[in-house]
């Protein structure tokens, strides 16, 4: 039942992520939050520490291929070139996490700052920036992907650029709409009266209030980039064939989905687990910064 207490919760959080009130006690609330943070930590440990324990070389090929799981020395069996799947899954985690983290961070930084600029300055700056974002959004991702591969070569670096190109506009639109909302509020006018310069107001006043929503968008984008990496591999961008990330492994195992489903399914499950955990962790963070509902 809707209770008064919920209705009385302040509409706009008074504290941004800078505030000290964001203490750990408020973060880990409820079983789902524990599971989410636990999975993220587990995956990071798996990826960073795992390879040390597994002796098999992820790139060592063997003429006898596609061994089923559990055979001697190959806990998860071998792939279509006789390489140890467990070693590849562990080795595949790092590039995948790097791509997701870097692309999400880059999109968030570039997109949010552009959005702040557009929302804050308004006028033709706003129109130009927003339409530039439209151009980026309307630009077919497949063309970007193939251009990257053909001209600059594949690899994680270009994957990060391609994903950033596709995700930054989302942040820009969000940040711009929020900033336009904030600019019309009294506290911005008040700080103008105090003689603060535009940049001071943007960074010290507007950004903290915008950052809560941006944080939520960041975790959703983390999930999107997780899915995008296999889509880009489908379009041919993930070219580090021999030292792949999870996204490429999902794509490479696709043709054997009927005979050896594990080759595609295991990386796909890990990607999904990562994405779901990232999202729930994001929700938990947002609630902790007192922007969310009880």
């Amino acid at each position: 039942m809707t209770s008064l207490v919920a209705a009385a919760a302040p509409r706009r959080g008074t504290t941004g992520w800078l505030s000290a009130r964001w203490s750990a006690r408020r973060v880990l609330r409820g079983p789902v939050a524990w599971l989410a943070w636990g999975t993220l930590v587990a995956l990071s440990v798996l990826v960073l520490v795992g390879p040390l324990f597994v002796t098999a070389d992820p790139q060592a090929q063997d003429s006898v291929a596609l061994l089923p799981a559990g055979t001697a020395g190959h806990l998860l069996g071998t792939d279509d070139l006789g390489r140890d799947v467990l070693a590849r899954v562990l080795a595949g985690g790092r590039p995948f996490l790097v791509v997701c983290a870097a692309a999400t961070a880059a999109s968030a930084l570039i997109g949010t700052s552009l959005g702040l600029l557009a929302g804050f300055r308004g006028g033709w700056v706003d129109a130009v920036v927003m339409r530039a974002m439209d151009v980026l959004l309307a630009f077919p991702l497949v063309l970007v992907a193939i251009l990257m591969v053909a001209v600059l070569g594949g690899g994680t670096g270009n994957m990060i650029v391609a994903i950033t190109i596709s995700q930054a506009p989302t942040f820009a639109r969000l940040a711009r709409n929020l900033t336009v909302g904030e600019v019309s509020r009294d506290y911005v006018r008040a700080s103008r009266c105090l003689g603060h310069g535009s940049w001071h107001i943007a960074l010290r006043e507007v950004l903290p209030n915008v950052s809560g929503q941006v944080l939520v968008q960041t975790t959703s984008t983390l999930a999107v980039t997780a899915g995008l990496s296999s889509a880009l591999s489908y379009l041919g961008l993930g070219q580090d064939a021999s030292a792949p990330d999870w996204g490429y492994m999902v794509r490479a195992g696709q043709e054997l989905i009927f005979s050896n489903p594990g080759l595609s399914l295991i990386p796909a499950l890990l990607i999904t687990a990562f994405a779901v955990a990232a999202n729930f962790a994001g929700d938990d963070l947002r609630d902790a910064t007192d922007l969310g509902r009880l």
Binding site: M1, T2, S3, L4, V5, A6, R11
Partner: protein
């Protein structure tokens, strides 16, 4: 103006507790209260004394999984605390009405003002859309808004704070309710507008014999409008009685301390006001 009047609402030994993740909060700790026909009963106290919660509880708006309400609120021969939600819903708007503190957020920004008034007439007075719309314009005129026909089509963000509170009052008194709970109706307004709005509200209420519970922390407002007053602190009523008696000759030292905290126009300029000592 004083003298016994039949009481419309009798509140007996009312307790309201909220369960929060930092332990239970006892907002109201056993109060008794009577509202008489056509009379203004002021409930005064500092913020956090539980006066607003009392008002909301009378309206039945403090129901929910985390709140427990004990005691009795008798109105129309039934105890509102025990009444089920559908009965309370039938009363709200028709016999029980409320005006809130912050006019800026009390109206739905997406609907024109006229439609929001007409809605309560349609729901509670069973009037057709067309009739309700016409009555809404007439109500806007009665609450003192110029060009009511044009104003009815306009949206809340196009009105000043004072104007919006007039609309909220129009909504509340549309069906001439028996009881009006006004929760600090003018605190958010500036002084000049405050007097006009209060005169309007109390005038309309008295005209329709409505019993008014006026929740406020402003003793000046109490002096000017209230017949009865109850002084409330941390969930309990310390003193009750006719307004002139309580203000003129306060029995309880907390009431005296409250009165002493008011700056005087004449009298020494530089004197510090004595702070009101609140218990731990």
């Amino acid at each position: 103006m004083a003298g016994p009047r039949p009481s419309v609402v009798e509140v007996r030994d009312l307790h309201v507790d909220f369960a929060t993740d930092r332990g239970p909060v006892h907002a109201v700790r056993g109060i008794d209260l009577d509202l008489a026909v056509g009379q203004v009963h002021a409930l005064v106290g500092e913020s956090g004394s539980g006066k607003s919660v009392t008002g909301l509880t009378i309206m039945g708006l403090t129901r929910g999984p985390r709140t427990t309400v004990r005691g009795a609120i008798r109105y129309g021969g039934r105890d509102l605390v025990q009444a089920d939600e559908s009965w309370m819903r039938s009363l709200r708007g028709r016999e029980l009405a409320m005006v809130f503190q912050d006019p800026m957020t009390s109206l739905n920004p997406m609907h024109p003002v006229g439609r929001q008034i007409a809605e309560t007439l349609q729901v509670n007075a069973g009037r057709s859309r067309r009739v309700a719309r016409a009555d809404a314009v007439e109500l806007l005129d009665r609450v003192g808004i110029r060009e009511p026909a044009k104003a009815a089509a306009r949206y809340p963000h196009e009105f000043s704070g004072g104007m919006r509170q007039r609309v909220v009052i129009a909504i509340a008194l549309a069906c001439e309710p028996a009881v009006l709970v006004a929760d600090e109706p003018t605190t958010a307004l500036d002084v000049t507008v405050q007097a006009q709005v209060l005169d309007l509200m109390v005038g309309l209420a008295r005209a329709s014999d409505t019993a008014v519970l006026l929740v406020t922390h402003d003793l000046g407002v109490v002096a000017r409008y209230a017949e009865q007053v109850s002084v409330m602190r941390s969930g309990q009523i310390l003193e009750r009685g006719p307004a002139q008696a309580v203000l003129g000759d306060p029995q309880h030292d907390y009431t005296r301390a409250l009165l002493a905290a008011i700056p005087r126009l004449h009298g020494p300029r530089r004197r510090r006001l004595s702070p009101v000592a609140t218990p731990g």
